[in-house]
Each structure stands twice: as structure tokens, then as C-alpha cells.
Symmetry: C2
Subunit: 406 residues, 2 copies
């Protein structure tokens, strides 16, 4: 297959490109490299020394003889360029990772809110629009998030995208209908994924586009089979307060002797998936496209759920790290349960790599190896969800906060 | 009150500005005049000779001694300008009409799709974002559409925004929850209003903004009490295939001896409201803001529903006009029922002006008076929802189509 990987220079996009290239697919990465620019803006860098995309693809070719092509295109701003590229290459499948994906970054300031909404909505809409315009019947696989569901509080399991509900008619009957699961996003970033969902629903209905939306949990880990093959194929590893995600952050904090930063009670339950499984899920999704004219296919792409404080305690036990209980910069319920259905990927052969598999050690290894690259001042999460919360967090400045260690 | 009317140069925004100014409120119109530019793009014009906004506000001042202020600002593109304006003026209320509002225009081409999504999403988001940034606790009243609901097909009445549903828990109980009514938009334009809804839900929850969303039916009529006061205060009247809406279009077609253009079987049921009632509803909504921290207030702003073919037959009987049954350029169900709850406005004192009130004659009068301004070639609706439909509509060109008259 000829596959376009939009956002293929990113944390999930890069190992996905390698994995699919390894299987013999023709891979084209389209990326505007905005994520590298954001590193510059924030003054942070990947824990792992990450080469340029041009150098990475050169190394991959030298190692395997396979070519991954790179095209510098901004999906959100270069509609005509994107359309021209799609018209020329007419890929069989398109994997869409190309969005601003950090919730804290999306809440930093009004500029960051606008950027996230505008970048993500326009990237997704430009793509759908161009596909229709070109009559391109490629299978579109999009990376969404578990965060579109909000966190169920009524003790119901979160289904894979669609929810059967009973609606009362005027003559007193109850009619059962399947609706897109009601969304309740917790940040501007998550909200953009809810907007994406609406775009997908419309284009599947009006134009019969074949779309798969993967509602992904938090990705942990760093290596996949392919990134291990050469030092320069190493994956990105974000540890900073904006882009670093909870499990990976705890592991690096442990490795550099920084207390594990738990926000609030740590009672938030989150869904997780290892990077190797994420890549496999995308492969499975590619092999199982929906029918033309059918509804948007939705998978819950996660393998386990954990409460944040349980993770912290586990890693603390494993590494001896302390735990710091900090005020929560997010506006969210202090405690939530989360029950998630994921039978679809399991039924199609996914064999999950869970936290118990010993891969945590591997990440601590990576973290220790590159600990000299860590800027400790970038570890705290400082983006607050509202000005009130920001004021509260500031009244309890970092120094003091880190003293209140368990 | 100091009220900002965003999009106050438009069909509903202008009479709303006059009505509220007449009541002694301080009115500021913010508009980028894009609607006038679209007239130029399409080579059409309002049936009624519409002066510049500067001239209209001058005439209003001469007639009443009251000032309406005009500010040329693009909400979607000039975030800093908008924020600066809001910071300086800090209005008590904001009425937001400023979006591209024609479904056929939004489906014309890929450029029009992109424009509609980008203009509407960014306009709404910039506004919400700036309000939070400035800690501006103004009551935001937005004009949405009945089209966000899609058209209910299960025989249930459409509630005012929120739907009670039963959700099954893992232990077999059914928990009742109120959700935002599942959306099912029929065009890119309608979809943008669904995206707006998501933005409102988020900002009401995260930032406690006070927001009212008016899900409006198709507006008919042209005059209000204030627009009647002087020839130069006349309202815009769109009759072309893109911006003209069904009832007003039938009336002008009747007035110029053009067959009434019914798409498909005319079995579509639509919700309607007279322009005078629309303006009154907005006044009522302004007087009943939601509480800070409460949920988004949603009203169904419509007074009656009719099937399109019934309207055509009524107007045919009234005027002797013929009916032309044309292929439907839209992708939609041929026939649909529509039962809509609107008790909230009625309970707050709205006394509806229905089709039976003799105001239809008034519009035919207006149409006859300005019939010399009509470009007959602009009357047909030519934007098709998909390329397949476009091909079908073209195979049956206008000349032939208009012969198949009932
Ligand atoms: N990492 C996670 O834990 C996680 C969890 C759930 C969902 N996701 C989703 O998976 C996708 C990939 O996540 P990631 O962690 O690899 O993110 P990332 O930021 O590392 O990668 C995103 C890539 O997209 C590119 N990009 C962004 N906007 C673009 C535009 N307008 N035009 C072209 N390229 C653009 C960036 O330069 C970057 O290379 C995202 O959509 C994200 O929302 C990630
Ligand atoms: N007319 C109807 O039948 C109807 C029905 C339901 C809902 N609505 C909604 O009511 C609102 C007003 O409708 P209308 O018929 O008066 O439309 P209109 O097109 O006549 O007026 C919209 C006004 O907003 C302005 N505008 C658009 N984008 C802008 C931007 N980015 N910045 C600043 N100004 C901008 C335009 O120049 C125009 O003056 C719309 O939001 C529409 O969706 C209208």
C-alpha cells in the first residue's frame, strides 16, 4: 500500500512510519515540523537526542534499504499544497497524527488556545475537504483520544464510540437509537478532537468517506522493534510539563531523583497503551477499513486503566522515588472511575503489552542514559486551566511545593 | 445596557440593532461587511436597496436622535483587534450573528467549505477566548440553528437543547442523564453551528461564561417596526439561490412570475419564525441570562413548522403562481416530520406572528415594488451537496426543469 503518514515526525507517527515501512508499504511522511518549533518556543528538547527527519530517513534507508519519503507541508495552512500532493500521489491510506496534541500547551494562554483550535480544526477539515474534491477513496485513520468521552461518572462502561440510548416519542413509546457518545472534553486540546469527530460524522454521511477514528489512551514507552535498530532511529521522549505524559514523566522523574509530581489526590483514572501496541493497533485498523457509505469506525485504543496515585506508588516502590502532592493545575474531578471497552482490537488479534511486562525498567534505563540532557526547571506542569487556578498554584511556588513530599 | 452586536449589518443583526437601540440600549455593531463582499462575489444584491452601514446609522440618528456605533472588525481574523475592542468597551451583553450562514454557499466548492469552517469556528472561538482572557462576564447570546438537531425521524419532539437519555451501567441499572441533543447536521454551514455548540459547552464548564444559544428556525419577512420608519432603514432581503431562504423565496418568485421552485417532493418539514419575532426573542433572551457557572441556556427560536410543498401550495393559491418540481440539490431525506418544543419563549411572553397574520401580503408588496431589481438568473439554487448530485441536477438544466410545472 501507498500510505501517507501526516505528522510522521512525531512521537507516535515516527515509529508507525518505521513499522509500516518495515512491512513493505510505501511510506510518505507529511509534516510541517511544528512540534520541533514548539520545543524551541518552550526551550525544551526530547530526552532522547533526536535527529532531523531527513537524517532519520537516511539512516533507515542505510539500515534497511527502504525509503521513507518526507514532504514539508502544513496541513492547516497549505490547503492547495496538500490537495496538489494528494492529487499527485493518491495514497491508498492516510494516517492522520498531525495535530497539536498537548492539553497543557493548549491551555497556556489565549494565543495557544487559538493556535490549537485553528491548527487542529483546519488540518482535519482541509484533509477531508481535499479528499472529497479529488474523489479520493483512501482509508483515513485518525488518532483521537479517550478524552473525547470525558470521564464517565455514572458507572457505565465507555463503549467504542457509539452509545445506545432510549428516546421517548410524543406518543409515549421509547425508541432505541445509537448515537455518537456524548462528548465532555477537559481541555481545548481535547475539545478539538471532539470537533474532529463532528467533521468525520458529516463527511462519512455526506460524501461516504471511509474513516476510522482511534480513541487512544495515554501512550507510554519509547522504543519499538524498529526504533531499537539504530541509535539514530530513536524515538522522541517528552518529559516536560506540557508534552510529557503521566507515566513516562514519572519514570524520568524517578531516574533523575525528582519527586513524582502527583496533581491533587491523584485519584484520576486514565487509560494507557504502550507505544509498540499503539503502532500495532494502527496496523490492525489499516487492515480493517469500514465500508464506503458506512458509519465512522471507532476503536478504543487502550489496553489498561490506572489511577494516577497507584502509578506513582508503584514507581515509587520500584525506584525509591519520593512523591510530591501538588495542587492540580487542571479543572477536573478529583477522583473518577473509568471502565473502557476495547474488545474490538482484542478480537482482531491485539496481544497487549501491559505495565507488568518489565518494559518500565527499559524506560528507566533510557531515562538514566540521557539524564544529563534533562532541564529540571522544565519538569513541573505550569499551565493552569483558569486564571483562578493559576493564582492558587502560584501562591504555592515550586520550591515550597516540592517540600511537601510524602 | 451596552450591547455589542456582532454581525449587526446582516439580515437579522440590523433590525435587532434598531430594536435594541430604540429601547435605549447603547449599541455597537462589529462587522467585517463580508456579507456585502459575498454579494459582490456572487453578482447578486438584496432585493431591497440597502445603504451602507454608515449611511443607515446616520439615518437612524437623524430619525431618532439615537446613535448606533459601527466598528469594522473581522472576528475570525483580527483576534487582537477584537480583544482590544472588548477590553476598551466591556459590553454588558454580546449578540453574536457574525457567521457565514448560507447552507448552499457553504457547499459550493472546496474553497467555500474551508471559508465557512474557518470563518465560523474562528469567529466564535476568538470571541470566547477573548472574553476569558479579559475576565469579561458579559452575557453572550448566539444565533444557532434548528439544523443542529438534524431532523428527528423517530417521532420524538425536539427538546430545547438537552435530551434526557437512559444509560446502562455495568451492573445493569439504567441511569438517566441529560445530554446535549445529538447533532446531525445537513451541511457544512450547519456543521459549524454544531462545532459552536461544543465550544460553548466547554467555555461554560471551564470558565463559567454565561452563554445563551438560540436554535433558530428559518426567518421570513423583512420589515420590523423600526425598519419601516424610513426607506433607508429598510432591511436586507435575499432572494438568490444561495442566501434566499424558502418562504421569502417563494414570495418573490410569485411576485415576479417565476414558478415556485420546490426541491424533490417538497416533503421536508422546516421550522419558521418571522423577523419581528426573531428580534423580540433576542430581547427576551437578553433579559433572562443564565447564571454564572450554570449550563448553556438553549432556546428553540421558532414559532411554527410547515412542509415545503404545503407552503408552495398555499402561496400558489394566494398568488396564482405555478409550482416547479425540481431535483433536490441537497442530500437529505425526501420527507421528514418535525415536532419542536418552544415553550420557553412562549412562557416568557412571546406572542407569535404566524403565517396566517396577513404579513405574507406585505412581503409580496415589497417584492413587487422592487421586482425591477431582480436578476432572474440568480433565482435557481445551483449549489449541489455532492458531485453526483451536481451531475444529476445538470443533466436536467434549468430550461427543461422549469417546464415541468404543475
Ligand atoms: N502521545 C499520546 O499519549 C497520545 C495519546 C492519545 C492520542 N494521541 C494523538 O496521536 C497523535 C500523535 O501524537 P504524538 O504524541 O505523536 O504527537 P506529536 O506532537 O509528537 O506529533 C504530531 C506531529 O504532527 C505534526 N503537525 C502538527 N500540526 C501539523 C500541521 N498543521 N501540519 C503538518 N504537521 C503537523 C507535528 O510537527 C508533529 O510531528 C496526535 O493527534 C495525538 O492527539 C497521542
Ligand atoms: N436568516 C435565517 O433564516 C437564519 C436562520 C437561523 C439562524 N440564523 C443565524 O442568525 C445569524 C444571522 O443571520 P443573518 O441571516 O442575519 O445572516 P447575514 O449573513 O445577513 O448576517 C451575518 C453578518 O455577519 C457578518 N460577518 C460574517 N462573518 C464575520 C466575521 N468573521 N467578522 C465580522 N462579521 C462577520 C456579515 O458581514 C453579516 O453582516 C447567523 O449566525 C445565522 O446562522 C439565521
Amino acid at each position: 500500500m501507498k500510505i501517507a503518514v501526516l505528522g510522521g515526525d512525531g512521537f507516535v507517527g515516527w515509529p508507525t512510519s518505521l513499522h509500516l515501512s518495515d512491512q513493505g508499504h510505501e511510506i510518505h511522511i507529511l509534516d510541517n515540523l511544528s512540534r520541533r518549533w514548539i520545543d524551541t518556543e518552550l526551550g525544551v528538547q526530547s530526552l532522547t537526542p533526536m535527529d532531523s527527519i531527513q537524517e532519520r530517513t537516511r539512516v533507515w534507508h542505510a539500515e534497511t534499504g527502504r525509503r521513507i519519503h518526507f514532504h514539508l507541508i502544513d496541513l492547516a495552512k497549505d490547503y492547495e499544497l496538500l490537495k496538489g500532493w494528494l492529487a499527485k500521489h493518491r495514497p491508498d491510506a492516510i494516517i492522520h497524527f498531525a495535530e497539536q496534541r498537548a492539553a497543557p500547551y493548549s491551555m497556556k494562554s489565549d494565543r495557544h488556545k487559538n493556535y490549537t483550535v485553528s491548527n487542529n480544526v483546519n488540518a482535519t477539515h482541509n484533509l477531508l475537504n481535499a479528499m472529497v474534491e479529488l474523489d479520493l477513496d483512501a482509508h483515513l485513520v485518525h488518532l483521537g483520544t479517550m478524552g473525547v468521552y470525558g470521564y464517565s461518572t455514572v458507572g457505565a462502561a465507555i463503549p467504542e464510540g457509539y452509545l445506545p440510548v432510549g428516546i421517548e416519542t410524543v406518543d409515549g413509546r421509547t425508541v432505541s437509537q445509537e448515537i455518537l457518545y456524548p462528548s465532555n472534553p477537559g481541555s481545548i486540546y481535547h475539545m478539538t478532537k471532539c470537533l474532529d469527530q463532528q467533521l468525520f460524522q458529516f463527511y462519512a454521511k455526506n460524501d461516504a468517506l471511509r474513516i476510522t477514528d482511534l480513541h487512544q489512551g495515554i501512550v507510554w514507552g519509547t522504543h519499538t522493534e524498529q526504533t531499537r535498530r539504530h541509535a539514530q532511529l530513536v524515538n522522541r521522549f517528552d518529559y516536560d510539563g506540557d508534552y510529557g505524559t503521566v507515566l513516562n514523566r514519572f519514570l524520568i522523574q524517578a531516574a533523575i531523583g525528582y519527586p513524582l509530581t502527583v496533581h491533587g489526590t491523584g485519584g484520576q483514572t486514565r487509560a494507557f497503551i504502550h507505544i509498540q501496541d499503539s503502532v500495532r493497533c494502527i496496523e490492525i485498523a489499516l487492515k480493517n477499513p469500514p465500508q464506503r457509505g458506512g458509519r465512522v469506525e471507532i476503536f478504543n485504543q487502550m489496553t489498561e486503566t490506572h489511577r494516577v496515585r497507584d502509578l506513582a506508588e508503584m514507581i515509587s516502590k520500584m525506584t525509591g522515588a519520593e512523591i510530591a502532592w501538588l495542587p492540580n493545575p487542571r479543572k477536573e474531578a478529583a477522583e473518577n472511575d473509568l471502565i473502557v471497552r476495547n474488545e474490538k482490537f482484542l478480537g482482531l488479534g491485539l496481544d497487549p503489552t501491559t505495565l507488568g511486562e518489565g518494559l518500565l525498567d527499559e524506560i528507566v534505563e533510557v531515562a538514566k542514559k540521557f539524564a544529563y540532557r534533562v532541564d529540571r526547571s522544565r519538569v513541573p506542569a505550569v499551565s493552569a486551566w483558569t486564571k483562578d487556578i493559576a493564582a492558587k498554584v502560584e501562591r504555592d511556588p515550586e520550591g515550597k511545593r516540592l517540600k511537601s513530599v510524602s
